[in-house]
Amino acid sequence: MRSLSHLRALEAESIHIFREVVAEFAKPVMLYSIGKDSSVMLRLAQKAFHPAPMPFPLLHVDTTYKFREMIEFRDWYPASIGCELRVHTNREAVAAGASPIALGTSKCCGLLKTRALLDGLEAGGYDAAFGGARRDEEKSRAKERIYSFRDQQGQWDPKNQRPELWNLYNSRVDKGQSIRVFPLSNWTELDVWHYIHLENIPVVPLYFAKVRDMIVRRESLIPPEHNVLPLLPDEKPQPVLCRMRSLGCTPCTGAIRSAADTVPKIIEELLSFRRSERENRIIDHDQEGSMELKKREGYF
């Protein structure tokens, strides 16, 4: 028997997961981060329910520190394929001036991402939430189940995960408990880009190289947008040919010098580059195991 190519095998597995969740949960939602993984999730969900529209809404947790181009993409793409988008922001924390400079990255993330996410999920009464996390991203993610059980506080208990066998997922939850579902668990960063290439999936233009104004500080390229970072003397944004390798909040997402302005060139760069995707994300490096700690608290 001929086997499916690896991307078609991954696609079939992800579609199965989407359908299983919709069949078994009362009120699913998709966490929409606007990034490339979210774009791939959207395409897989379209495929899973074709010709029907997607039977669940999208939820974007907006920290108010996202790039303007991300917000433009968010407001255009999901609507263009008939998805309903909901946005949740921790208004209280934003009003109180929460920023990574004022609070430190870990507290800022805790309020604007984790807290806002938990509140947004609770407000919607969702019992299952799709997320785009992949196991190849980070060591503690490598241990995550496809169905990740969360207690009433949205917390993850890594030592007490439900065994997950074959493709038989246990969807039973009590009131207030929920499942985070990761349909892209088995995809790698390369798979994601390759699929975007094959399927011609739209992604935020920030992924493509272009001359952009950046604050250049040693090796780092810091976007000046939503400028919360105090500039050093004589420091001012200067034009650099660069792109974003992953998308997050402007103060905590660095750009990389790159001339890759098409998907194949990005893949080529990825192959030759061999630097981890999350390297320019500050949160994973606060301390060893920081992602695991955040996830225990309810982060994705």
């Binding site: 028997m1 079939a12 899973a48 010709p51 196991r135 030592k159 194949p264 030759s272 630097r275 060893e288």
Partner: protein
């Protein structure tokens, strides 16, 4: 990470090649000190799968267990507890690829107390790598790992004899271990066994053949992984399409969505719909990318039929002459995964293909001794035990034996109260039971319901509703009424438990007379204890449960 030399092929050519690669999922089993994490680290490292900054973060890490410059095992043990204790607790998934193929590794813990995690990692694998320390040879745990791989139907095994560097790269050491392993593993039903002598630390025979063991003429580990067939050559040939989701966006489209478990289907094929037994033909195979003429396992598709049929999730489409087994009672192997032991009789949920039904383990026929591969009598199954059991489901299940068809022969057991996943199950086969004829007897009804009929008079309405819920979750046929029940005879004959403020019947039991503590939960516990003591619950626990969800 794929080796890609932009000097020799263009990125477009590379992507075209890449798109044709297939995917091999394998799992690794070995004990803490067999060097399993080192082997995987070495595979990832040598196939250039380790990103440079991840390596940098490991060099900074506080503990360093090995003496060499890079501790490969720190790449794979992701959780804090694991890094601190120096053992692998949970399954970690790793990804790498070579120019020939993509790989998913399920890195599973080797300790006996993590058998359940090993089963988790093995359940989706097509190949297993079993590690043996060359200095120690085949150990009891080696047998256990092989037995679990065999039980979970993994077709291919690699026996990786590791730490050959510490055994002087001695051929005799390798041959002895190979012979010892084959002596028992050849009985476990594997399609293929490949023994390979390696040194993970030195990289001998891992990603490439080394020079230290010229006497070994077989493939290096990675060569072998790149060349074994991915698809099971014994894959079940017959169509099994469990309906996962009915897609009905408008009046004109009624599609049945699912992932093909085995076999293939084509437009125009006649299909039999189970359990209804009705037939129709495939009108279309609809996908986002357009209609297909034909589709095969493991594709996720949506089909429409030529006739309007009443089909729901859990039904199965098959070719009319190629039916699966349809039965309520079957024998199975269970890997018990919960701290609370399995005692027969309790009501459980069974999830198999896309259906979920209630059922019971009616008997434990034996506990498997993984050393001798023989069953011995056991009253209960504890955490990580593997047993042979008989199961009765409340509805007919459609399946094949696990040996013949992993996707339709597998199931999980779920606790309906705590929601915990209790066990992984592998169906051995149906149990023939002559269908009883004639009038349904009282004893059959008792068996079905799992309890005696009872008429319970109780004036505390709130507590009555809570008791109804508690009994229902327990698997009972129960009805709480807030009106007096005048005609109790019918309920009694149907075998129900009825709770009402007044019941005009001589058989009524007065719950109002049972002394109850003030606190609600404690009061419910007391009521349940009373019902058990009265022989309404519990006594018949050994029998099958009633219709569930």
């Amino acid at each position: 990470m794929t080796t890609f030399d932009s000097g020799t092929v263009t990125i477009e050519e590379f992507l075209a090649q890449e798109a044709g690669k297939d995917l091999l999922r394998f799992f690794t089993a070995g004990s803490v000190d067999d060097g399993k994490s080192t082997l995987i680290g070495r595979l990832l490292y040598d196939s250039r799968g380790i990103y440079e900054d991840q390596l940098a973060s490991i060099r900074q890490s506080r503990v360093n267990r090995s003496t060499g410059p890079i501790d490969f095992s720190l790449l794979t043990d992701g959780l804090r507890a694991e890094r601190e204790q120096g053992i692998t607790i949970d399954v970690a998934y790793r990804y790498f690829s070579t120019p020939k193929r993509k790989f998913i590794i399920a890195d599973t813990p080797g300790h006996e107390q993590y058998t359940r995690n090993m089963a988790t990692g093995a359940s989706t694998a097509a190949l297993s790598i079993i590690l043996v320390d060359a200095r120690l040879g085949v150990l009891p745990q080696t047998r256990r790992h092989a037995a679990i791989a065999g039980l979970l139907g993994i077709p291919r095994v690699v026996l990786a004899v590791n730490k050959m560097d510490l055994a002087g790269y001695d051929q005799a050491v390798f041959e002895k271990i190979r012979t010892d392993f084959l002596a028992f593993a050849s009985r476990m039903g594997f399609e293929h066994i490949q023994p390979i002598p390696v040194s993970a630390l030195e990289g001998e025979n891992v990603a490439r053949r080394g020079t230290a063991m010229a006497w070994y003429t077989g493939p290096a580990l990675l060569e072998h992984l790149e060349s074994v067939p991915v698809a099971e050559t014994r894959a079940h040939p017959d169509l099994r399409f469990p309906v996962q989701y009915v897609n009905r966006p408008n009046l004109y489209f009624r599609g049945y969505a699912g992932q093909i478990a085995s076999g293939s289907l084509s437009k125009g094929d006649p299909v039999l719909i189970l359990p209804s037994g009705k037939t129709s033909r495939i009108a279309s195979i609809s996908t986002f990318d357009g209609d297909l003429e034909t589709a095969s396992a493991p594709m996720s598709i949506t089909v429409t039929l030529e006739d309007e049929r009443d089909i729901s999730r859990g039904d199965m489409l098959v070719h009319p002459e190629r039916r699966p087994v349809a039965a309520r009672t079957f024998d199975a192997h269970l890997v018990w995964m919960h701290e609370d032991p399995l005692a027969p009789g309790r009501s459980l949920l069974i999830k198999q293909t896309t259906q979920q039904v209630t059922g019971r383990v009616t008997a434990i026929q034996g506990r498997l001794n993984l050393q001798t591969m023989e069953d011995s009598a056991a009253p209960i199954l504890g955490l990580n035990d593997i047993g042979k059991v008989r199961i009765e489901a409340s509805r007919t299940l459609l399946f094949d034996a696990y040996r013949a068809n992993r996707p339709t022969g597998s199931f999980i057991l779920i606790d309906p109260i705590s929601n915990a996943t209790l066990a992984a199950g592998m169906i051995l086969g149906a149990v023939d039971r002559a269908a009883p004829e004639g009038h349904v007897t009282t004893s059959e009804r008792l068996q079905r319901n799992g309890h005696s009929p009872a008429l319970l008079a109780f004036s505390n309405r709130e507590l009555a509703l809570r008791l109804e819920r508690r009994l229902f979750d327990h698997g009972c046929q129960v009805l709480a009424s807030d009106k007096p029940v005048a005609q109790a005879e019918l309920a009694w004959q149907a075998g129900l438990i009825v709770i009402a403020p007044e019941i005009a019947d001589a058989r009524v039991r007065q719950l109002d007379l049972v002394p109850l503590p003030k606190e609600e939960e404690a009061a419910l516990d007391a009521l349940m204890a009373y019902l058990e003591q009265q022989g309404i619950l519990g006594v018949i626990e050994r029998f099958d449960s009633g219709e569930g969800i």
